[in-house]
Symmetry: C2
Subunit: 434 residues, 2 copies
């Protein structure tokens, strides 16, 4: 079977991330699709010998020439900017190539024309990476929620803005002060206008609204207000009232028409959206059948953006397979080839443990219990002695991760201590860290 051949245009953060991801996860992706993905061209303004690309990948600065080549099935545009991306994509579509792009500004401002050209040439532009980075929100709205009439969407879709507002709230800092830090950390550009004045969020909202309501892209009609006038004073007052200020993109269907707006917004602090902190993104979608659903994750960065770009590529690969082989579009259990990786017995599983004992005399017990744990090499994360209850003293111990078989042995030993009454309670702990 022929591999699916890509031209990757742009080798910045995102382009580099796509190259790295296709290489790093090649085996897993092949197991999912059953087909090779091959990079035939890389388009960059300047040659990049420093990248040590395999000799099989041709490098060229002539992007228009690349997209005409016969050994290119999919053009991956990850340069950003309106020009020459517009011209290059147009040319690619006219030559019957599928296009994958992460370019929100281009789509929000010129998507209507580009989608028309794609339709005319019976190809598609896909753009999962253009909105909310690695969160597959375009797929969710176009497909996952397709049975619903979507009523409104409210999203934290600019990570820089959310980082600034989070710092302002958590540390009582001023806007200008946090912005400077965000620039030093690389979260914000030297010219932060796109992020802090809401233009980037308005680009993304334009795209989300079109997918949610089936309307043309209308970036020029988005009401856009940034966060640069938000003061620490208002953040603090809002908090006293039980609210948090978030910079939201909101698209809402009303009986009069559609509201498209980007602005700082007070939302109740108990909402999940109010608890999305730092550079993370999240999109809350209200639909008429499923009700509210929320999608959370990294909205920017090389890995997350590449995750979305490559997901689009995999969709195209699966469509090609469907066309050529007539096999089902997506493998029923997600992978073409299932693995026989063993499933572990519970005794082999590793987690932290919360342990509660009821002890007669806590001083002696604590020494005995901690000695047993330490002899077994089990780290203690916290110990808490509780007020006496029915003549016994409850002791709670939280351990570091340990394999269950070892914990079973240790608990049997502790249970056997004469000062321990009743059955020891144990509940597993997960820190949910990466």
């Amino acid at each position: 079977m022929k591999p699916v051949r890509l031209a990757i245009l742009g080798l910045g953060t995102v382009g580099g991330g796509v190259l790295k991801l296709l290489q790093e996860n090649a085996a897993e992706i092949r197991r999912r699709t059953g087909r090779e993905i091959e990079i035939t061209y890389v388009g960059t303004r300047r040659p990049r010998p420093d990248l040590n690309l395999p000799a099989s990948i041709k490098q060229s600065a002539d992007l228009i020439d690349i997209v005409k080549q016969a050994d290119v099935d999919v053009v991956v545009e990850v340069m950003g900017g309106i020009h020459p991306a517009y011209e290059v994509i147009t040319e690619a579509l006219k030559h019957g190539k599928q296009v994958v792009t992460a370019n929100k500004a281009l789509l929000a401002e010129h998507g209507n024309e580009l989608f028309k050209i794609a339709d005319d040439h019976n190809v598609q532009i896909t753009y999962e990476a253009a909105v909310a980075g690695g969160i597959p929100i375009i797929k969710v709205i176009r497909e996952g929620l397709a049975a619903n009439k979507i009523e409104w969407i409210a999203g934290i879709i600019n990570g820089t803005g959310n980082f600034i507002l989070t710092e302002m709230r958590e540390k009582g800092r001023a806007f200008a002060d946090v912005l400077k830090e965000a620039q030093q950390l690389g979260y914000a550009e030297a010219d932060p206008t796109f992020d802090v004045e809401g233009i980037d969020a308005a680009h993304k909202l334009t795209i989300l609204a079109s997918c949610a309501f089936g309307i043309p892209l209308q970036f020029d009609k988005v009401y856009t207000e940034g966060i640069s006038k938000i003061t620490a004073q208002d953040v603090s007052y809002a908090e006293n009232l039980g609210y948090r200020i978030k910079h939201l993109g909101i698209a809402r269907r009303t009986h009069k028409g559609i509201e498209l707006r980007v602005h700082p917004t007070l939302i109740p602090e108990e909402e999940l959206l109010a608890n999305v902190n730092g550079v993370k993104n999240a999109v809350l979608v209200q639909s008429n059948a499923v009700g509210p659903t929320l999608y959370y994750g990294a909205g920017a960065g090389a890995g997350p953006t590449a995750s979305a770009v490559v997901a689009d590529i995999i969709d195209i690969v699966r469509d090609i397979i469907y066309t050529e082989d007539g096999a089902g579009t997506i493998p029923q259990l997600a992978f073409e080839a299932l693995a026989d990786t063993p499933v572990l017995d519970s005794t082999e599983m590793t987690t932290g443990y919360y342990i509660r004992l009821n002890a007669e005399d806590q001083t002696g017990v604590l020494a005995n219990v901690t000695t047993i744990l330490s002899r077994a090499g089990i780290g203690i994360d916290a110990i808490m002695q509780q007020p006496r209850l029915k003549d016994l003293i409850p002791i709670v111990i939280m351990t570091d991760p340990v394999v269950e078989s070892k914990m079973n042995d240790v608990l049997a030993e502790i249970q056997a201590l004469s000062e321990i009454h009743g059955e020891i309670v144990r509940i597993r702990i997960e820190l949910l860290e990466n």
Copy 2:
């Protein structure tokens, strides 16, 4: 163009929800797909004249006969239970029908055989509704995250269990007491074993893990522990330590093999997953490119489950269109036909407002300001007077939703008051309610 023809088997909560949704959202779904969806058969053990189904829908109790009919393209199995669902689906697949099911128990326990039969007959079983109800988690894992190597999944995938644990924590109630209420509310079955002993969650985890790691379904290897032994005492101790107890389904890849486990788990209270309350579900997925992403929504109920079932149907309709017409699988902007719904000017948008004034003499000002608001018919949700700052008294007012044009007029009037100094701050409020 021929409509796509469905047989719906089962007319309980889910079946009824599917019928209602297909009817209620027919126009929006047609706008998305460009193709009619027609129900040709409804299969129920007993005829249901009370439903007043259109005469064009044939009713029959002979399910095996229905799935053989030529005027059925897709069989929607929403009966639940292992038998006769297994036999009926098998027969449908052998007759070349696409199958959509919400049946987690059947798939977790017999999916390997059924998927094999589907493959052999070049059709598919789709099952978005089988896991986490209306959250499109199967699509996310099979497609949206397909570029990633998934490392682990941790999900709240049983709403009943989460409702019980939420009530225990928020109100200090005992397990048995809350379970009784859950049964009265219809959240828990008369026999709650499947929910509270973790079997339902284990069924769902089995399916999630197979999609995430590409392994056969292995329900019998899931370590399963319910919540029936969790006490209010442990819930409270965990909280004192900064943790919440959630009933999680966890699937994790380790170097030794795969962990599949369902058990009560202490997780840090600042995690979004710890703040998923009541009957809601949420799934946290850790992947190697995108990092952590989280998906939240309703895990059960007629509407949410129907949302997932009908999303699967729309996928099939789109595949049929692709096969017949060669048009792109999914419309680029989600809809085949875009609407010219007007986008509103910001002056026409309705939101609540947070207003901050700096006043010289608050007593007089409050009367003046509230009079202006009340004359305009704007409701006040909260007023907060803040400590004097630089000789002025900050006053914060939160209003009920009001159209911007009216708020503009009112603020101009307030701004003109001689006691008000500096520019009035206004920030929009959204309660994010349905």
